[in-house]
């Protein structure tokens, strides 16, 4: 584990679709692949279920990074076209976050199939390291101070 000097450990929320990335994460765990402990996973049936509000909510609650991951387009989606909706929505979220002053590096969205457990483990480790280097976001406190 690398360290940015002050012992900061980021909190990351991952919204994973039930059929692909969640299955990959499951396999990664069962296969005992070494992963950073910083990602908390919230399972949704489809990445198309991920309301942009969930992502804002996670940052507002104190997350330093967010991952959204589903099935590879085209054709891998269990619901045939749910991942296309993710494909259209996520760039919008990306733009929105930047307007709020949140670095786009704190938000990762993409595709990991059920067969790609090593890819999931790699993403967890790489993304955690990246967010760790960015330092704390602390959006919750900023929001509270604005309210006051």
């Amino acid at each position: 584990m690398s360290d940015n000097g002050n012992g900061f450990e980021p909190r990351i929320v991952g919204f994973l679709c039930n059929w692909c990335t969640y299955a990959a994460a499951d396999t990664a765990g069962v296969s005992r692949m070494k992963q950073e402990p910083n990602v908390d996973i919230i399972r949704v049936m489809c990445s198309g279920r991920v309301d942009p509000v969930f992502i804002l909510k996670a940052f507002a609650e104190g997350a330093d990074g967010v991952i959204v991951s589903g099935c590879h387009p085209p054709g891998d989606c269990h619901y045939s076209t749910g991942n296309y909706k993710t494909f259209r929505r996520m760039p919008m979220v990306e733009a929105l976050l930047q307007q709020y002053g949140i670095e786009k590096e704190r938000f990762h969205w993409g595709w990991i199939s059920g067969a790609e457990a090593p890819k999931w483990a790699r993403l967890v480790n790489d993304f955690t390291e990246k967010v760790r280097d960015l330092g704390p976001l602390d959006w919750k406190r900023q929001l509270q101070s604005k309210e006051e």
Binding site: D40, M45, C46, G48, D76, G114, A115
Partner: protein, 953 residues
């Protein structure tokens, strides 16, 4: 397999592909494309007579390319259904382009086989005038020929010329080829007692006459001229089409029983209908030459090309010795007129000792826009015809005796393109000049002369007859027309094609049957550049320039009517036919049809789309063999004695290419054989997984080699995976049979000089390198998911595991189900397995499907979406998002509603609903928000309260 084929409750859709799937568990709608088989499955008795007559030889995929098979075939002897299939990519482009539907690829394939009489039968099938079309055709087939993409098109017209000349030289062989092969009586027409009159013995009229006689009608042909053949006889000069060559084709038609009356002009076509003819065909051609109405155009030496060529063809020659002749026009007729005038004048000069004529062609555009065929233009130039481009006539000037003495002309220049795409010539002001001329021949077109038709038959302003495009019937009931009379001046093949069409309709008319509609459009076989590259790589493209046709030298030809172009020799013709790329695979030569007793073959079949409603689906799409070319260290492809396990399987099969004898490429039994395991399997450079059944078949093959040849066998293996019942015992037996087992990967195969194969590998037991020089190497290659597995996966909503095979719902607990309810897996589609395991899984898949169907109802997951109808703002966003059409809009209540049976619970509508009216049960927004809050709540804080919502009603 036989039992499956015979079972009353099983419908086997072979040669078919699933194209679309919709619906849900218990209610799938499946679209299946039944590919055209061209053989009626229910009629074919699989006697195999067709196999011997098919001229096509392609690689036999079942025998792994170790042998060839015809285009009509059955995958293997025990195939179910046992009916044959024709391997056809579509109609070959050459046939598709030809107005007569001439089966060019067919007769070319037969020429390759030196079956010239059969080739002639194929030609005659669609074309009653092969002697003509082998010489003077505009050959659109060659324009479309795929060989043109490689170098130059196949010389299709000249191949026809060769076959026709050969056929007339070998009448006995031809008679034998034309003999009915199945039932002589069935091929004889029943007389119908109906009478048809044909007006005009040109290509259209005689084609109709032939077709109708063959259908059993009584046919009389009336011809105004003293000779038959129409424009073929009096429009085409003898040096291009000798009259006796034409006459052979005409005689063949007359011999069928056509009554031909020459010198018999018909003055009133409609009158024929009152004189006992049940149907009349008008094939009067276009014999009235067109001239531009300029001053002096009606002078006696200013004549149309049609009149000039007709007179010349009938032996009436004007005196052209030493004369100046100007031909106006730029088409084939202009070339013919100029060269004919040159010959007449030259022959007169040589006979009487005078000057040769000076013949020039004046054309208002340039050589680039000239419609004449290249060869004709070249020959005319060689013969000394003078060409004047961009010249247009203004006045034909007479001398005092009213004979033509000059042609006043103007220079032209090219302006904007007209409707035909050619640049329109416009006169250059003040550029007029005078050419000396004794004769002016107008070769600028011809029109029909419909004087024999009463006004009841509708004609256009250009005097052509108006007909229905499908039936060729004129505005008068029972009166049909085709050829130049309908199209204006066109080519012989156009007239023949239209004649066939008219005859089909006339036959229906005479039998009081419904008139034929438009002909079905059949797909055309297209060779793409990639396919050509593949053929080249496979060595199927013979490198050879287009055949050259011998021509008589200029001096010899301009002094006589001898034919300019000679025929190809037999060797040249066969070599030229080898250049054909066989675009369609099946050449449609039709010889299978001739020998098929039950008449099961139908070359006009098209693909059918079948709509099926099914409750469950079992995907058992199997595997493909991995290609060992990808690992060059095994030298696969460098020696025919290095083969895959599958190839060896065919070699050792009693039904295989050697009848089961194990032989090297030299035809000798091997003295030593090496078998290398795990080629492409358990290898990070190819597939990581174990292909699972290769160990066992490798052992079986080792046993076969020992048993049949007694050869030394070396097995290079990594681990011997003899996991099944009785398998280990078999392995032990083989050890006793004296097979040398080398534990360690076979690493490399080297082809030695003299053909021996050196196998090198690791011997892990002895800790050293092992090496063996053998006669034959068998590679136990990996299997892999089929190349189109991704298409099947997205059709049925299947996932795929890392190895590419379809993913089961759970690797241990649900190995037969998939994540799509109602879709099950069986066999190697799910992953490598041997026959017993495949049968076991297939049985399980069948049971699960039966259990599903038997229950008649399905249990669905409770994770579905519901709409709170009070909050719904009726924006309809959700409706277009749902991939299952589960949400419908209720107009009366102005709300969206979810059909719970169709909803799969993905929740994409929930995320998109702007009114937050939709909830996904078990994944509600509140639940997910609470999870997020919960993540960041400190342990000492109050727990997050999660309300258990009651959603929907």
């Amino acid at each position: 397999m036989m039992d499956v084929g015979r079972h009353p409750n099983i419908t086997l859709l072979s040669y078919s592909e699933v194209e679309g799937v919709s619906g849900y568990v218990g209610n799938f709608d499946v679209q299946v494309r039944r590919k055209a088989r061209y053989v009626d499955e229910d009629v074919c008795t699989s006697c195999g007579e067709c196999l011997d007559v098919c001229p096509i030889h392609v690689e036999d995929a079942f025998n792994e390319g170790l042998s060839t098979r015809p285009a009509i075939y059955r995958a293997f002897a025990q195939a179910i259904p046992s009916a044959f299939v024709i391997d056809k990519q579509g109609v070959a482009p050459c046939r598709s382009a030809c107005p007569t539907d001439q089966r060019a690829q067919g007769y070319i394939a037969l020429i390759r086989e030196r079956r010239f009489a059969d080739a002639f039968r194929t030609i005659k099938e669609d074309n009653p005038f092969p002697s003509v079309c082998g010489r003077v055709c505009n050959h659109v087939c060659e324009t479309e020929c795929s060989r043109g993409k490689v170098d130059e098109p196949v010389s299709i017209m000249r191949l026809k010329h060769f076959v026709t000349e050969w056929a007339y030289d070998h009448p006995e062989e031809v008679a034998e080829a034309f003999e009915p092969k199945i039932d002589a009586d069935a091929e004889k027409p029943e007389p119908t007692g109906k009478k048809a009159a044909i007006v005009g013995a040109g290509p259209a009229g005689l084609t109709v006459a032939q077709d109708l006689v063959l259908k059993g009608h009584e046919v009389t042909v009336f011809e105004a001229l003293p000779v038959a053949g129409g424009m073929m006889r009096v429009g085409i000069p003898d040096y291009r089409l000798p009259p006796d060559a034409l006459q052979r084709d005409i005689d063949a038609i007359i011999d069928m029983g056509v009554d031909l009356r020459l010198n018999h002009p018909v003055e009133d076509v409609l009158g024929l209908k009152d004189n006992g003819y049940d149907a009349v065909f008008v094939g009067i051609g276009a014999h009235r030459g067109v001239k531009v109405p300029i001053e002096g155009v009606e002078l006696p030496q200013s004549i149309s090309a049609v009149d000039f060529l007709r007179d010349a063809n009938l032996g009436h020659y004007p005196d052209l010795m030493g004369k100046k002749v100007i031909v106006l026009g730029g088409g084939d007729v202009a070339m013919d007129s100029a060269c004919t005038a040159l010959r007449i004048g030259t022959m007169q000069a040589r006979e009487r000792g005078g000057e040769a004529p000076e013949v020039r062609v004046a054309y208002r555009r340039t050589d680039e826009q000239m419609p004449a065929q290249e060869a004709e233009f070249r020959q005319a130039e060689e013969e000394g015809i003078i060409f004047d481009w961009l010249v247009s006539p203004v006045e034909v000037v007479p001398d005092e005796e009213d004979n033509v003495c000059h042609l006043r002309c103007t220079r032209m220049e090219l302006g904007e393109p007209d409707e035909s795409g050619r640049r329109r010539p416009v006169p250059v002001e003040g550029s007029e000049f005078v050419l000396d001329a004794d004769y002016v021949i107008w070769a600028i077109g011809a029109r029909p002369d419909p004087i024999c038709l009463s006004e009841e038959v509708e004609c256009t302003l250009q005097d052509t007859v108006v007909v229905d495009e499908n039936t060729m019937m004129t505005s008068m009931d029972g009166v049909f027309a085709a050829g130049d009379a309908v199209t204006g001046m066109a080519f012989v093949v156009d007239a023949i094609g239209a004649g066939h069409k008219a005859a089909r309709a006339m036959d229906a008319y005479l039998r009081n049957e419904p008139m034929p509609g438009p002909e079905p459009e059949l797909p055309v076989a297209e060779l793409t550049d990639e396919m050509i590259a593949e053929k080249r790589a496979a060595g199927e493209i013979v490198d050879r320039p287009r055949a050259c046709v011998p021509e008589v030298d200029v001096d010899g030809r301009i002094g006589s009517w001898c034919e300019v172009c000679g025929a190809l020799t037999e060797e040249e013709a066969v070599a030229e036919a080898m250049r054909c790329l066989q675009c369609g695979i099946c050449s449609e030569c039709n010889h299978c049809v001739h020998v098929c007793g039950p008449q099961a073959i139908n070359h006009q079949m098209t693909d059918e789309i079948l709509e099926l409603s099914v409750g469950g689906v079992v995907v058992a799409t199997g595997f493909e063999m991995w290609d060992p070319h990808q690992l060059p260290q095994y030298s696969y492809g460098k020696s025919p004695n290095i083969m895959t396990g599958m190839e060896f399987e065919r070699l050792s099969s009693a039904g295989g290419p050697t009848g089961g004898e194990i032989l090297t490429a030299d035809g000798e039994p091997p003295e030593s054989v090496a078998i290398i395991h795990c080629v492409g399997s358990r290898d990070h450079n190819a597939h990581k997984y174990c292909s699972r059944f290769c160990c066992m078949y490798s052992l079986k093959q080792a046993h076969l080699v020992r048993d049949k040849t007694g050869a030394e066998v070396y097995e290079f293996y990594m681990d011997m995976r003899t996991f099944g019942k009785g398998y280990e015992e078999f392995y032990e037996r083989l050890q006793e049979e004296g097979i040398t087992f080398v534990r360690g990967r076979g690493a490399e195969v080297e082809v030695l000089k003299g053909g021996k194969l050196r196998v090198k590998g690791d011997d892990a037991d002895l800790g050293r390198l092992a090496q063996a020089d053998v006669d034959m190497v068998i590679l136990s290659t990996a299997i892999e998911a089929p190349h189109d597995a991704d298409r099947i996966a997205s059709l049925f909503g299947l996932g795929r595991s890392e190895d590419g095979f379809f993913a089961e719902a759970h690797p241990k607990l649900r190995p037969v189900e998939t994540n799509t309810d109602g879709v099950f897996l069986a066999g190697n589609a799910q992953g490598p397995k041997d026959v017993p395991d495949t049968v076991g899984q297939a049985g399980a898949a069948a049971s699960m499907t039966l259990a599903l169907l038997d229950k008649g109802e399905v249990t669905i997951s409770p994770q579905v979406a519901v709409v709170d109808e009070e909050l719904c703002s009726a924006c309809k966003t959700c409706i277009s998002l749902c991939p299952y059409d589960a949400i419908s809009f209720i107009e009366e209540e102005d709300v969206a509603r979810v059909n719970e049976a169709l909803c799969k619970g993905c929740g994409t509508c929930v995320a998109a609903c702007p009114a937050e009216a939709i909830t996904a049960k078990h994944f509600t927004t509140r639940q997910i928000m609470a999870q997020i809050e919960g993540l960041f709540r400190m342990p000492e804080e109050e727990p997050v309260e999660v309300e258990v919502e009651r959603v929907g009603s």
